[in-house]
């Protein structure tokens, strides 16, 4: 039926990018992703940032430096500094970037705080630059590149040219004796060392650099790098610390425990060995989902036509979607953590349950079964538990229950205030 149709309305809040950037839901997701990323990074460095204790002890006994491909940039920087100092026969030599900036010399989490602060400042600057015009962005990028090139080759080229001009002869800037003053390649060592130092730091801080740029500069490519890099490292670590590989090629990495210890954390829910591993995995998903969700939702809003961006209905539904994304992120991730923890603990639960049938030969056999407590038993029982949890969907109508709660809360909030009669 043809009727009067209202035109699209215009509200005060819109879905323009400048408003979205300040929307609390978007900011919350970005902050959540940032916290997850930093926390995950710190947990990874705590878990994978040390060499095998035997390697460390052996080096300490010889008062020598040691190195292993652990997730710690200070190890590599210290090793590099020692090699260069040895090569220059200068025991006081130090790398161009000061230790307070790289975190070298610190122990524990202190090794990462300052680099993270610097990277955060760099990211903030880069994001701010992203809001400038294309011309300014291009000029700044070219400027940074130009400074880097001039710093690398400027002094080298100038001294070489001046050397040739003052001696009025053509010569190569390398392969000359140091005393002749014609070995200008020496001027390259300083800048190259700085760049190598930066590169080493970058290798370790790739997840932070790419992750922060991805979250705040809305780049899917950067996020993919931030996700792929830790996974690649974990894969290599698993391979290099695998018993079969270590037997032939030991790089001195600290191995993860092959047995789940006694569950003492979270009220006896999990062992201290598993807790950080589980947290790393959960934080990995929280970071991934929150960061990509921000980009996905902003892309949706960005693609809306101008009239829809101003339409209060679109704004309301956008907020609805974002609010529930936040609720799901918190709720679902909590349950993921809980289900995973219970799944890993499920073998213990089975043994405890079987223990109820005391005096039974079968129950005694199961209780003493080593297989159930070893890796295979843990994983298989975990999978059984996960399948059970998946089946709960058909048993517990929790969505309907939450719906009823939501309706009753809405009705309560919409009820008019009782009229107070005055006598």
């Amino acid at each position: 039926m043809a009727e009067e149709v209202q035109l699209q309305q215009e509200g005060l809040t819109t879905l323009h990018l400048r408003h979205l950037r300040k929307k609390w839901q978007i900011l919350s997701l970005q902050v959540l992703a940032t916290i997850s990323l930093l926390w995950m990074f710190m947990l990874i460095t705590r878990t994978y940032g040390a060499c095998d204790s035997a390697v460390v002890a052996s080096a300490n006994s010889r008062n020598a430096l040691y190195w292993c491909p652990a997730y710690d940039h200070t190890l590599t920087l210290a090793w590099m500094q020692a090699i260069l100092a040895d090569g220059m026969s200068d025991p006081t030599y130090s790398l161009p970037l000061p230790d307070w900036m790289t975190g070298a010399g610190n122990s524990g989490d202190g090794r990462y705080f300052m680099p993270i602060v610097i990277i955060s400042l760099f990211t903030a600057g880069w994001v701010a630059l992203g809001s400038q015009t294309a011309l300014i962005r291009r000029r700044v990028s070219i400027g940074i590149l130009g400074v880097a090139i001039v710093y690398l080759a400027g002094i080298f080229t100038l001294t070489w040219l001046w050397g040739m001009f003052s001696s009025w002869s053509l010569y190569l800037p390398f392969g000359q004796t140091v005393s002749s003053g014609r070995n200008h390649a020496e001027h390259l060592i300083g800048p190259l060392t700085l760049y190598i130092q930066l590169f080493i730091m970058l290798l370790v801080f790739v997840p932070i650099v790419c992750g922060l740029l991805g979250i705040w500069n809305l780049s899917k490519r950067m996020l993919s790098w931030a996700v792929a890099w830790p996974l690649l490292f974990l894969g290599f670590h698993a391979l290099l610390s695998y018993e079969g590989v270590r037997a032939n090629f030991d790089v001195g990495l600290e191995t993860l425990p092959s047995q789940i210890g006694e569950a003492t954390e979270f009220g006896g829910l999990m062992s201290p060995q598993i807790a950080p591993l589980l947290l790393i995995a959960v934080l990995f998903i929280v970071f991934l989902e929150s960061a990509f969700a921000v980009i996905r939702q902003i892309e949706y809003a960005f693609r809306l036509p101008e009239s829809c961006k101003k339409d209060p209905e679109y704004v309301r539904q956008f907020e609805n979607v974002m609010n529930h994304h936040l609720v799901h992120t918190v709720g679902v991730m909590f349950f993921v953590w809980l289900v995973s923890a219970l799944a890993i603990k499920f073998d213990d639960l089975i043994i405890s349950l079987v223990g109820l049938f005391e005096g039974n030969q079968w129950s005694e056999q199961v209780r003493e079964s080593l297989e159930l407590q070893l890796t295979y038993g843990t994983v298989i029982s975990a999978m059984v538990f996960v399948v059970f949890v998946a089946g709960l969907r058909y048993i517990v109508p929790w969505q309907r229950i939450i719906g009823f709660i939501e309706v009753s809360m809405k009705e309560r909030s919409e009820q008019p205030a009782p009229v107070v009669e005055e006598f």
């Binding site: 209202q6 949706y300 036509p305 539904q317 529930h324 969907r393 309706v407």
Partner: protein, 417 residues
């Protein structure tokens, strides 16, 4: 349905669990278990499309090129949240979005309503239908999706455009014998007052002259002068060949505009207009006057589509008993692919009808979409000119209508023999 991401997470999770088991690496196993738990927990959340949809249109009938305002109200009457839904109102591909969007991502709570408002431009005449509403549930983390439909449709008729041709008709050489309704000094159906007479049972109450009744005490009724009207016949060629050209610019499209405009012009002058559309069969709308007839003609023209190859001779033969003597006949045809056109028009002229042939130049429409070699084009144009000259030779008025010429301009280019 699982998305590609969910499948990837499941395979990654299982692979990590298996590799972790083989290498006794708890980190890989834990990540694998967390991936699988992530899928499992997300499996608890499912959306639903149990929605009430109501669509309001600003008009049920409209003219080609007009804007249509659409409002789609979506209400969740269920007692649980819909979760993240993408709602897409299917619109005919012929229509173009002018403002707003027929899509919205929503998450409706119990009892919540939202409205999608958009404006469509309707560049093509026809009988169209808006709907159904497509709904896609997407899990918050894009792991599962489910597609649903709500079969809610709104029908819409787009009439051909009606151009103002009054000035062109006055200035053109089209014969002026049909000058609209003329009053005759005899009683009958008409508009002007003729006389009073006594009421006889069966006379409608609305023609009773109450003042005369009050004065004389007897029931008297008004009688009107009989209006003499001209019967105008419009024959529209809707054969398959009339589709040549683009979707918006082809002989049939502009022919239907011409038919609607002519009908409007003559009906406004209180003439009777009849419409015959021939494609694979003949559809005939008998002559009549008034707004109802106008609506009928526009509705018929809205539904016209190119098909078939009925010869004009068959049309004129079938209609000859219905043609009023000496009435003008407008034939809107490209004069292509029908060898009976010339004899049919000759017969009509011979029977004393005033025949006006409005002929969109098919070869020029074809030229818009394909490249025709110059020589071939010249030959085809020459053949067409010969055909037009032959028709004009029988006494018919011929209008060679080129694609870029307005109807009012074309009507001024009448050529007679």
């Amino acid at each position: 349905m699982w998305t590609r991401k969910a499948a990837l997470i499941l395979t990654s999770g299982l692979s990590l669990v298996l590799v972790g088991m083989m290498m006794s690496n708890f980190q890989l196993m834990t990540i694998g278990i967390v991936f699988i738990s992530f899928l499992t927990v997300n499996g608890w959340v499912s959306g639903h499309g149990d929605l009430e949809i109501s669509r309001t249109l600003s008009a049920d009938n409209m003219y080609k090129g007009d804007d249509l305002y659409v409002e789609l109200a979506i209400t969740n009457h269920s007692s649980r949240r819909t979760q993240q839904l993408e709602i897409y109102d299917n619109i005919p591909h012929e229509m173009k979005l002018r403002s707003g969007l027929n899509y919205m991502a929503v998450n409706l709570g119990p009892g919540e309503t939202t409205r999608i408002r958009y404006v469509l431009r309707c560049p093509l005449r026809g009988h169209h239908s808006i709907g159904p509403v497509s709904i896609r549930f997407r899990n918050t983390f894009n792991l599962f999706s489910e597609e649903m439909f709500i079969n809610h449709r709104s029908d819409l008729v787009i009439f051909p455009q009606v151009r103002d041709i009054e000035e062109a008709m006055v200035r053109s050489q089209t014969p002026k014998m049909y000058t609209g309704a003329t009053t005759l000094r005899t009683p009958g159906p008409g508009t002007e007052f003729f006389s009073l007479r006594d009421y006889v049972p069966g006379d409608p109450f609305k023609i009773i002259n109450w003042k005369a009744f009050a004065r004389t005490g007897e029931l008297m009724v008004n009688e009107k002068c009989r209006d003499a009207v001209t019967d105008v016949f419009i024959l529209l060629d809707s054969r398959e060949i009339a589709r040549i050209g683009t979707v918006l610019k082809n002989p049939l499209e502009i022919g239907s505009v011409a038919a609607a405009s002519l009908a409007s012009y003559f009906l406004q002058r209180r003439d009777s207009v009849a419409l015959a559309v021939y494609d694979d069969r003949l559809s005939f709308l008998p002559q009549d006057t008034g707004d109802k007839q106008y609506f009928k003609i526009l509705s018929s023209l809205a539904g016209v589509s190119p098909k078939g190859a009925m010869p004009l001779q068959a049309v004129t033969n079938a209609l000859s008993p219905r043609f009023s003597r000496g009435s003008p006949v407008f034939i809107i045809t490209g004069l292509e692919g029908d060898s009976t056109t010339i004899p049919a028009i000759r017969d009509l002229c011979g029977r004393g009808h005033e025949v006006i042939v409005l002929s969109p130049s098919g070869i020029d429409y074809e030229r818009i979409i394909t490249r025709i070699p110059r020589m071939s084009y010249e030959v085809l144009k020459l053949e067409r000119q010969n055909r037009l000259t032959a028709i004009a030779g029988f006494g018919a008025r011929v209008i060679d209508w080129m694609p870029d010429v307005e109807l009012s301009q074309a009507l001024l280019q009448v050529k007679s023999g």
